[in-house]
Each structure stands twice: as C-alpha cells, then as structure tokens.
Symmetry: C2
Subunit: 571 residues, 2 copies
C-alpha cells in the first residue's frame, strides 16, 4: 500500500542521511515526519538559531545598539519558532521517547527561563532599573540540542570523553610549571632585578606562575626573559629548557591525547552509524518484502516506487543504473543483500556528463563553426591561455602594490578589469555555459565570483571617487579588499593548490559551525567575565588561564585533529 | 664448523639489531666485523663525534675560549679516529660496496677538506692573518654518515620525502601572506599611522611581509596590531582573519602533511626492515641446516651454540625457555619457521623474578623476622607510607617557596633531607636491594638519584655558606635547582603521571639525538649567518624567515609527529 511505501521510504531516507529519530508509524505521524524533515523546515530552524545567536551583536554592550523592544521582539519570535518545532517533533515521535529525551527538556526549560528573564528585565527596564540579561548565556543550548546538530553534539561528546585523559596531562603540566616557578623564584627573586616597567622581577610566586603560564603561549615571549638575560646570559638555558618542556613537549602531548581520543571516538561513531543504517534498511525491507520461491525479495516495481519517493529528483537513466546494479541477475526483483545497499547507492554522486551543444551553435551554426571562431575556441582551451592570464594577474598584483594616486595606474585598473571580463566571456563562448556553471564546478564559480567582485569593486571605487562627498572609509576598505582578493584566481591555475584548498573547503562547514560555536561561547564568557575581570587583577589572570585551557588546549587541538584527519582521507 | 657458526651468528645478530651492513664472509673479515660491532667501538666513535661537535663551544666566537692549538689537536685526534673507523669498515665490507657507498666518500672528503682548512687557517694564524674556519659547518657530516646513525638518516630521508608536499603548502602559505600584506599596505599605508617607536606603520610592502610572517609565530603579536587597533577597532577583523588562516589553518596543514608523510614513510621502513631481517635469518638457517627426514632443520646442540654466540650473557633458564618455544614438539631440532623467529625471540625482554631472600635475613634472621621488624616492613609496604611522603614533599615545596634567610626554614631543610634518607633506608630494609635496584626498575633509580642529588645539594649549600669565601653564583644556582628538582618525586606516586613520563622517556633518545642535531645545525647557521646578518637589516629578516621555515615548519612538526606516533603506540 501507499502507507507502507511511505513508511519504508522514511526508513531508507533516515538511513541515507544518518538520521536517528524514532518516529511513530501511524500514517498521520509519517506524513508529519516527512514535513519535519523537509529542507525548508531545516533552513527555517537554522535561520532562527542564527538570528537568536546574532542578537548578542545588537544588545548592550552592543556593536550595533538596537532598542530593547526590537531585540526582545526578535527573541520572542525565535522562541516561538523553537517551541513550534518542538511541538512538531512531539507529534512525530512517541510520547514516551519525547519526554525521556533530555534534549527536548533542555529546550523547553531554556525557553521558559528566557521568557522569565525577558519579563523581569523588561519590567525592571520599564521602571528604569538596570539588570543583567543572564539568559543570554543559554542561547547556545538551542544550537546544540536540536536534532539537526548531530555533528556538533558528536564533537562535544568527543571533547567530554577526552577530558579525563587531558586532565592528567594538564595536572602534570601545571606541576611542571610550578617546579619552574619555584626555580625562577629562587634564581631571580633575590637579585633585585626590575622589569622593563621598573617593577620587581619574579619576586612573587603567584605572579611567576602566571607569567610562565603565559610564556607557554609565547604571548610575553621576549619581554619576560629580558631582565634575566641582562643579568646573566647563562639564564637562557633556563628559558630554553622551559620552552622545550612546556611549550613543545607538553603542547604536543596535549595534541596527541586529543587526537588519539578523537580517532578512537570517530571509529566508534562510524561503527554505530553503520549498525543503525543496516537496522533501518532491514525495517524497510521487512515492510516491502514478498516471497518468491524460497527467499524474500522486493519486486522491481515496488523498488522503483520506493526510490522515487526517497529521491524525487533522480533522473531516469540514473534510476535504471541503480536498478541494474541492485537486480544483478535481471530477475525482476531485488534480494535482501542488494536492497540493504540502496541507502549507500543513493549517496553516491553520479556525474552525468551531458555533452550538450553550445547554444550559439544552435542559433548561428555557420558563424560558430567558422574557422576564425574555431581558432578562438582552440586558443581558449590551450594551456598558454591560462599562463597568459597568470602573468596578467601577477602584473596586476604589482600594480596594486604601487601607489594608486598615480593616474596611469588608476587607468590600468580598468585595463585589468576589461581583460578579466574578456576572459570570462571567451570561456563562456568556448564552453557550454550550463556545463561550465554546473553545481559541481566549484572552481569556475569561484573564478567568476571573484571577477564579478572585482567589477563591483572598481565601479564602486570610481563612483565614490567621482562623487567625493560620500567618501566612507569602510566602503573604501571593502573595495580595496575585494580588488586584492581577485589575485586569489592564481590558485585556480595550480593543480596542487586546488587540492589543498579543496580539502580545506570540504572540512569548511564543520570548522565554521565549530568556529561559530566557539565564538558564541567566547563572547558569552567575555561578557560574563569582563565585568568580573575588571574588579581585580588576580581574577583577570585566572580568566586568562581558563580561557587558554578551553580555547588552546581543547578547541585548537580538536581543530587540528579535524584537519589532520581530513588530510589523511583526502591527500 | 666454528667459522660457519660465527658467520650464522653474525647474520642473526644483524637481524636482531636491524643492522644492514654487507660484510665479507672470510673468517678474518667476520672476526673483524665482530670487533667492528663491539659496544666499546660504538661508544668510542660516538664519543669522538660528540667531542668534534662540541668543539664549536671552544672555538671563536666561543663560550669557553681555548687556544687554537688545543682545539686543532683535538680535531686532528677526532679525524684520526674517524679515519681509523673507516679503514676498519673497509676491511669488513667488500671493496666494491665500500667505494659505491656515498656515505664513505662523504666522510673521506670531509676529513680531507677539514685537514686542508686546518692547515690553511693554522698557517694564516701563524702570520697573524685572521680567516674563517669554514669546515666547521661540515662536522655534522660525521654524525649523519657513520653506519651507527641509521635512525638519524631515516629521519632525514623522511624529511626529504616530505619536502615536495611541504613546498606546495608553503608556496600557498606565502601567497596568502602576500595577499594579506597587499591588503595591509592598502588599508594602513596611507593613513600616516606610527608604530610604538614612532616609525611609519605598514608603508613598505617588504616590511609588511616580514612583520606578518613574524605574526604567524606570534612573536610580535600584540605590538604589531596596536597602531591599527588604535586607529579603528574594526581592523581587529583583519588580524583575526589573518591569525585563523595563517596561524591556525596553515600551521595545522603543515603538521598534517608532515605527519601524513612520516606515517607513510614509517610503514615502508618497517616493511623493509622486516624483509631484511627475514632475509638474514634465512642466510643463517642455510648455513646451519641439516636434513632430517624430508625437511631441513637446525639441530638442538647447534642452535644452543648459536644462541650462546649471539647473546653471550643469556641465562641458562632463559635459553631453555627459548629452546622450548622454538622446538615445540621436543624433537631435538628446530625447523625453519621457528628458527626464523630467533632474532625476535632474543629481543623480547624476559623479566625473571628472582625471589631472593633479603641479605639481612641471612645475616641476622631472628632480628629481621622479629615482630617489630615485620611491623616496620608492613608499614613501608602500606600505601599510607606513600601518602605520608607525598604530604612531606608538598610541605617541602611550601618551605622552598618561603624565604630561606629565616633560620628556622634553613634548619627545616635538614629535617626534610633526613626524612628522605630515612625513607630510602626503610625501603632498602624492606625490599631486597638487588631487586629494588634492578636495571628495569627505572622509577626506583629515579627516586634514589633525586634524593642523592638533594643530599649533595644541601651539603654543598651549607659548605658554601659556612666557607663564605667561595660564594660562586653558578654553583649556588645549581644547588638551588637540585633542591627544587627533588619535588619531582611526586611523579613516582601517581600512576597516570608515570605512564605519561614513561612514554616521553621512551622516545627520549630519539628526541635527544634529533634535538642535538638541530642544535648543531642551528649553531652552525647562527655562526655563518651571524656576521652576515649584522651587515644588513634585510639579510637578518631573510635569516629569520629561513630559520623559521627550517625549525618550526619542518623540525617542530616532525618532532610533534614523533610524539603523536609514540602516544598512539603507548597510551
Ligand atoms: Na609575543
């Protein structure tokens, strides 16, 4: 039946996208589940999460101050969207599962707490009493707890699992810093040395611990050593030993422990995902199976209908290809082993090369196929064409470095821009435009976007310079940066550069989410600790150490672990 | 025959220690080869290499200046030793192989060049003309090219294989730095900003490239950004972007490429070593095999004699154990498969626990087994004993941190020292001394050495303070450091700390050779470039960049790769 087909398709789709949401199997719940997974709903929820997180930019202490009414309205809107999403989820998933999931409870509690905070803050504001919007630190809860953020939660789990191992290395590291601090106190404390600012040098053990901790980050690197060097050059041995042990060895050990755990964890996660995927595909098979001879199979017609529901935009030839792979013996049905592979088959990107004729060839075949036109096309396809434009970019770079108040150089700008536009036009003349701008042709898009940015920049620059009245510094700066960014085109020409950048771009989304999360956390921390740190100098130091532990030891190392792993796979 | 046995033993020994020296099979050559591989010869050659390398400390510009005659005599002595070792090697290895090996040619050429340089320099010195001892940069050639330095050459090969991949990443990195430099020139160059020293800020493209390159190391981290921040806070976006891309992403990519290559290379090396080991064991088997029934085997008596030649200090029970493993069926002979395992079997450290009686129990059994004595022994074995001494160490740390001119604290020193000596005496009373000081009981040695160092330090300190006349600052500093180092004993008590430190110590020798090599190279570079860098400011900058490329990008990353790999294996 159609209901069974939809249910099976939901299982296959979950297997394909590694979703792990238990849903009710009533027809109404399945339909709601399809709607729940629709990309518009996902985009909407991410949009509201972004709005909610970016509110920090508009609230005091704000980069762009907005009145409380505006930000609180936006926040209520976001909370409504989150609540709606949660209600939608509650109708999809079994009641028992919903209330047992701490993620849902977290979201609900956060919504209620935020509303209470909003009401209190608003009321106090109304009678001109200033208070603190403490619920702002809770906002990342939404980012982390919605089912869409599987990857982020996986990373957090990974961090949590790493903590015990990290803790012991950290304790040993702090022990080492303490030993070196004691040495510094004994070696330098009684010598009456002075820092550059004329303060006593290394006389207080707590100050020494802090300075040596900061030395690990090399933030105070030459300054903190100078009084000792000036007293006796031999003390460089102390600082060299310190740097080797605490900067190089300990920081490497931190990385080793984090990376080690990350890989172990990743292996477990992949195993778990494979198990869940297989489990879901078996569920789907059991719904659709019929008995043919002695074995259970899925009939070809049923399989086709299922594939159409799971991947509505799949092309006819692609579907036939998948069927031919799945029904090896052309027996008119797909057996269990081949059926279980469907989710993976759908994930394989098949590059369908459509050798289409150039539109110009249809419109004016005689002109397009004339010998002059063919010569132009061969020229554009030749590697010398690429080299000529590489040289042009280099000359452009030199011109940018030169003084632009020289009118000759200012005119040259227009020459370069024309050359770039001619290049893109020639390419569109030679290559079929739809193939050139295919979704997978990342580097063509990159190239074209940079040229368009250059065009916009140069036009904007000229407009500003001729208008003279509206000479905004920020717009001028952006124009300058866009003009320089066009030099990035050189990356496109060098194969090895493209490999490196492609690898980095593939892990880009993960890094961006991760970086965004860190930024939000850091901003929250800064806001919370900022006032506190101003009160006492000692608190500011503790704050620096805490910040360093979280950011450098954990996050940067996990970031490096990401990149290490990505390069193992890609390079 | 005895000759055949010696030849087979040489093959087994080479397989055991992963040596790969082709040697002649004549009886005389084999005997010379045994002598060549003797540990005294190895120690001697390392000693002369160390002397040769450390000459840099005594030659101008010197830390401890010595007359030219002394250093040149020492150098000639070293060269003689190297030449002798080479002649010895030439008598062991076939003529053809010897002259084809570039390592030998390298050593010979370096000896000749060094002698020429010594003669020229000496003659010029005699007529009071100062010249440059250019052959000093050739000294690491000896360290690298003797067959003993397989591990170092392996690392160098690994570095050389990494270079092409590193090069492309480096070019892309420099391209990125250049793009950012152009941006900085355009954004800040025309604003008339000044640095803290009042110099023009970011006006020259070459200066900018250098400053931004240094920024990657964070050496000039806050200073270089301040003028831009002071002008407009928004420019922090520029520096944040720069740091994320060039410090975090590119430095991680460098590490990823180096580590990736290192692992690939390591896998190949291990495969090659396994192949060579098997090949050598087959050679040995072919020499000793006799036919029993249908298969070739080595007779038990022959096998015993072979094992005795390869491992002369092996104990009787250990040898019987190995034989029982190798001759599974107790058939009186060892078959080929089991014979090939011999080299690996000899490498396995068998912990033979000799439950010996305490010497005191033999000398005065009644006293040692009295109830009071047994109580003491149980007390020492109890974990509370460890905890009590941990607390004592902590109190000691606090006392060290306090002002030692207070006489009470100065007396406390003696108290702590007595407590530590009592501890070690109690342990020696409880545990069998030979078992306690076994070669493999690293932590007991560590503990005892630290206490002895503490004793020496405190006694020396008191002697100096009472003598008053000879109050050398350097000796006082060393005493202070030794007194603080005794706090390291706390590591022994915490199991997890010991695991981390053991892992680090296991890779210690490799890191030390590696670090020594780097130090020598760096010193040679410094000496060569030092004078050159003083001439022009631009040359100094290039020098800094070259130094950073070699040290940070290559060496530090390979160092981190070592540690990452060691922790994968050990943790
Ligand atoms: Na710094």
């Amino acid at each position: 039946t159609q209901e069974n087909l939809l249910l099976a398709a939901a299982y296959v789709s979950d297997a394909q996208y590694n979703r792990n949401v238990p849903f009710e199997t009533s027809p109404r719940a399945i339909r709601l589940y399809y709607f729940y997974n629709h990309w518009t709903m996902q985009v909407a929820i991410y949009f509201f999460i972004c709005v909610d997180l970016s509110l920090a930019l508009f609230e005091e202490p704000a980069l762009f101050p907005l009145p409380f009414l505006a930000t609180s309205l936006a926040e209520v809107l976001c909370l409504t969207a989150f609540f709606g999403r949660l209600v939608h989820f509650a109708k999809v998933t079994p009641q028992m599962v919903f209330w047992k999931d701490t993620k849902n409870i977290c979201i609900m509690v956060t919504i209620v707490l935020t509303l209470i905070d909003l009401i209190i803050y608003g009321s106090l504001e109304a009678v001109n009493v200033h208070s603190v919007r403490w619920s702002r630190v809770l906002r990342p809860v939404f980012l982390i707890n919605f089912p869409e953020s599987r990857q982020i939660r996986r990373t957090f789990r990974s961090i949590r699992n790493t903590l015990p191992d990290i803790l012991y290395v950290f304790l040993l590291f702090m022990f080492s810093v303490l030993i070196f601090s004691l040495m510094a106190l004994k070696l330098f404390g009684d010598r009456g040395l002075k820092t550059v600012e004329g303060l006593p040098y290394f006389t207080n053990i707590l100050d020494i611990v802090f300075e040596l901790y900061v030395l690990v980050t090399t933030a105070n690197s030459p300054d903190v050593m100078m009084p000792a060097y000036n007293f006796n050059w031999w003390y460089c041995l102390y600082f060299i030993t310190y740097t080797i042990i605490n900067t190089y060895i300990f920081m490497s050990v931190f990385l080793a422990v984090v990376y080690n755990n990350y890989r172990k964890h990743l292996k477990n996660e992949i195993r778990k995902l494979a198990y869940l995927k297989r489990h879901k595909m078996i569920e789907a098979f059991n719904i659709l199976k019929v008995k043919v001879g002695t074995e259970f199979v899925v009939m070809e017609a049923q399989w086709r209908r299922l594939a159409k529901v799971v991947a509505p935009h799949i092309s006819g030839p692609h579907l036939e290809l998948l069927l031919r792979i799945s029904d090896e013996g052309q027996k008119g049905h797909v057996d269990k082993v081949n059926f279980l592979r469907l989710a993976d088959l759908l994930n394989i990107q098949v590059v369908t090369i459509n050798i289409r004729r150039h539109p110009l060839e249809d419109w004016m075949p005689r002109v397009y196929r004339s010998s002059a036109s063919l010569l132009v096309q061969r020229m554009v396809q030749h590697r010398i064409f690429v080299w000529v434009y590489d040289v042009i970019i280099l000359i452009n770079a030199i011109f940018i470095a030169l003084d632009e108040r020289n009118p000759f150089i200012s005119y040259a700008e227009w020459l370069f821009l024309s050359l770039y536009i001619i290049e893109i036009l020639l390419k569109l003349y030679t290559y079929e435009p739809r193939a050139y701008f295919d979704r997978r042709q990342f580097w063509n898009w990159f190239d074209t976007l940079i040229i368009i940015a250059a065009l916009v920049a140069t036009v904007a620059n000229t407009t500003i310079q001729s208008a003279r009245k509206y000479n905004s510094q920020q717009i001028l700066d952006i124009v300058l940066i866009l003009r320089i960014l066009r030099l990035l085109r050189i990356i496109v020409s060098i194969q090895r550069f493209r490999v490196i950048v492609t690898t980095l771009i593939n892990i880009g989304p993960t890094i961006l989410t991760f970086g965004g999360l860190v930024l939000v956390d850091v901003l929250s921390l800064l806001l919370l600790a900022g006032g506190f740190a101003l009160v006492t100098h000692q608190a500011a130091k503790l704050y620096f150490i805490g910040f360093h532990i979280v950011v450098v030891i954990l996050i940067v190392n996990i970031f490096i672990a990401f990149i290490l792993e990505a390069f193992f796979v890609a390079y």
